[in-house]
Amino acid sequence: MEKIIFYILALVIIVFAIASVSSKKMLRSVIYLLFVLIGISGIYFLIDYNFLAAIQLTVYAGGVIVLLIFSVMLVHHIEMELELAKVSKRILVGLASLIGLGVFLTTIYSHEFIVVENYTTTTTEDIGFGLLSYEAGGFILPFEVISILLLASMIGAIVIAKGTKLTNKKNDTV
């Protein structure tokens, strides 16, 4: 059962990822990305990281995608088609990616992973304790740093997006 779900999810992720990077319509591309992200959260669910799956859904599918959609709406017409790279370039990059993929996969498959059989479910509590622990191996400091980073980026985003009124009336026509 999980096996089938996983394959479906994997298929969804890959197909929509490809669709996302090759679609000519901006908004569709974002929506395809949304499906990819949801698929990824599905994988998290599958391996019993429910908390992570939830974060994935809220932060990515909820936050980032909305942000993206808004920005796309701001700067694009819905019907506008994206300009694609030259065919030769696409082929070149595609080839390079494929080769890279091959290299990575050979590396991966040639490596013996020592897999530990387990089916434990990681609870939110565990994660909370781990994150906020003061003891050795605790993540309180990074946690605080990240929260300050988030704050800073929030302020930064607002400042930048608001902008000083750089656009003079005269230059608007340009």
Partner: protein, 105 residues
Amino acid sequence: MIAGISIYEILTVTTILFFIGVYGFITRKNLISILMSVELILNASVINFVVINKYLYPDMLQGVFFSIFIIAVAAAETALAISIIINLYRQIASVEVKDTEIMKY
């Protein structure tokens, strides 16, 4: 751990996802699309963190913590990037890469 699914299969999927992201990052000509490709790459790596944690070191949670941090940083990054894009759009009315080469040389 997913029953019947080995770590290889998951890693294969993430690697594919990663390279799709790379492909998108290089070929797309629109800033927002590039940003999206970056998200793909990030997600691929996040999955790797999680999966490796789960399959190889199930009694530790470092992979999970890092995934959370990555997601947080990615969100922050996205927010900042989009604000920059919007600001740029106000300045030059375009978010195409080719229009943003003023500082090139």
